[in-house]
């Protein structure tokens, strides 16, 4: 068992995304809260009620959580109604089935449902327990990319309507951003930034958050409109600045050229690099260069350029495409 120190006191009255890389401790956090794993020490309190610590260790079945598992963990031998009714303690569940649009599936076994339907059944089952807290572990990762967007939006509105505090764990910034307006980023068992999705995009607190959110994050020293980058090279800004700064560039502001940059363009910043990896990102292609710079270009452009891993390219962006934040000197 790995060791985590996790100090967090979250006040959430709605959905909060807990996002971070694999192995950061996100799922562990949910399992600890639900009582499925036991922390070596610490304290868990939910809604003023002590669940763990000081000699208290409430067993999982007595903690009022609604847990939605990554693969949904629906009982394959029970139909939808029985699945939802499992934790309902005898309360009728028809209203809930109706509300989540799964009433017509009541007699079906989970094996015959689509990914989106399974997720709604899993949510209904969790809600039927009348939880004080909803815990969702990677709720979109079991779905194919085509349905992720719509199911995510559905999930977001169900969570909002439930009015329950919900922790939604995700290793994908984009999934998390669809589901919850507020996000906490967890790195190696520690929350490194908490805020709205916009805040995270605009001013990432750590290089990881920047990379995770997909914002480019170049550090350097500014003198006037010129920033000498720590990694070498220079960036021209739109407004003057001074001292240690982080230059943030949205990936869609970055254009790519193979070979030498065209001298006639309006972009004044050019950074040379090699394609480290590239992959589809919605209808776009995300290209990561070896300097850490990420560009988002259309599929068409990527195909036209015949872009492949290892290609030498020049990344260009306009001075107006940059945002600058001051940072403490290294």
């Amino acid at each position: 068992m790995r060791e985590f120190t996790l100090e967090l006191s979250l006040t959430c009255d709605g959905p909060l995304a807990v996002a971070g890389p694999s192995g950061a401790g996100k799922s562990t956090l949910l399992r600890l809260l639900a009582g499925l794993d036991t922390p070596t020490h610490g304290r868990i309190e939910v809604d003023g009620e002590r669940w763990f610590g000081g000699g208290v260790d409430l067993p999982a079945e007595r903690r009022r959580v609604g847990f939605v598992f990554q693969e949904y963990a629906l009982f394959p031998h029970l139909d939808v109604r029985a699945n939802v009714g499992f934790g309902a303690e005898g309360r009728p569940v028809d209203d809930l089935l109706e509300r989540l649009g799964i009433a017509r599936l009541a007699r079906q076994r989970p094996g015959r449902l689509s990914g989106g339907e399974r997720q709604r059944v899993a949510l209904a089952r969790a809600l039927a327990r009348r939880p004080k807290l909803l815990l969702l572990d990677e709720p979109l990762s079991a779905l194919d990319p085509a349905t992720r967007g719509t199911v995510g939006a559905e999930l977001a509105s169900i969570l909002r309507e439930s009015g329950l505090p919900a922790l939604v764990v995700s290793h994908s910034f984009d999934d998390a951003a669809v589901i919850a307006p507020q996000m906490a980023v967890i790195e190696r068992g520690r929350i490194t930034q908490e805020g709205s999705v916009d805040e995270l995009l605009a001013s990432p607190a750590t290089p990881f958050v920047a990379q995770f959110a997909g914002t480019n994050h170049l550090t350097g020293n500014a003198v006037g409109r010129l920033v000498s980058l720590d990694q070498g090279g220079e960036v021209l800004l739109a407004e003057p600045h001074s001292g240690p700064v982080a230059v943030l560039i949205a990936p869609w502001e970055v254009t790519l050229d193979k070979g030498a940059p065209p001298p006639t363009g309006s972009a004044l910043n050019h950074i040379r690099g090699r394609v480290q990896r590239l992959g589809p990102f919605g209808s776009r292609v995300r290209v990561v260069l070896d300097g850490g710079l990420t560009a988002e270009i259309t599929k068409d452009s990527a195909e036209r350029m015949g872009l492949a891993t290892g290609d030498e390219v020049v990344a260009s962006f306009k001075a107006t495409g940059t945002r600058v934040v001051s940072r403490a000197p290294n």
Partner: protein, 208 residues
């Protein structure tokens, strides 16, 4: 009756062995598997040493007015002792193959360990449990060595089919052959059913 005893006692034990990690788990599993590799006659002697009049528990049983060897109870015990590893091995494999998230889900939905066991673990493992029970039953049916030593061969009391056959071939060959034919048929039907059952459930449990 031996089957009922095996299933009722064996299922929770297998569940425990499959899903918990505790010190001595391997030793426990070995103890339950031991009868599988013992010669049945040795198993019979073992039972006699434990429960016989001059056995380990002989005095205690005597005090209670119980005498086990050479009774129907002895037949049941001998059968259960020799055949139970088949059931337990199969049941452990069936429980081990369960998706742990399903058991965790039941817990988060307010089901304590007992309800999780009855409503989730047992129904999901029933294919493997059924296959194990059928195999164990087939083995119990053919049990000879431990039975004849621990229970003897009292006509109408402890004379099982295999013992009938053994005595039959020395006295009346035809009757012996007839009983043998019935046993072969019953065993074949059981084994075949197990195969069908396992295939239908696509169970991951091991068939010995």
């Amino acid at each position: 009756m031996a089957l009922v005893a095996m299933v009722v006692l064996g299922t929770p034990i297998a569940h425990l062995i499959a899903l918990r990690r505790f010190p001595g788990r391997d030793a426990l599993l070995t103890a339950f598997e031991l009868p599988l590799v013992l010669p049945p006659a040795v198993a019979g002697i073992g039972l006699l040493m434990a429960f016989g009049r001059r056995g380990l528990l002989g005095d205690e049983l005597d005090a209670l007015g119980l005498q086990i060897p050479y009774t129907k109870l002895a037949v049941v015990m001998a059968m259960a002792f020799v055949a139970s590893p088949l059931f337990i091995r199969q049941a452990v494999a069936a429980f081990d193959a369960l998706d742990r998230d399903l058991l965790a889900a039941a817990r988060t939905l307010g089901a304590g360990p007992a309800r999780t066991f009855w409503r989730v673990a047992v129904p999901l493992a029933r294919g493997g449990l059924g296959a194990g029970a059928a195999l164990a039953w087939a083995r119990a049916l053919g049990e000879f060595g431990a039975t004849i030593i621990f229970a003897g061969s009292l006509s109408g009391v402890t004379r099982t089919a295999p013992i009938e056959i053994y005595l039959g071939i020395s006295e009346n060959l035809d009757a012996g052959l007839a009983t043998a034919a019935v046993l072969i048929a019953v065993s074949a039907v059981i084994l075949f059913s197990v195969k069908l059952l396992v295939r239908r459930r696509a169970s991951r449990s091991v068939l010995l």
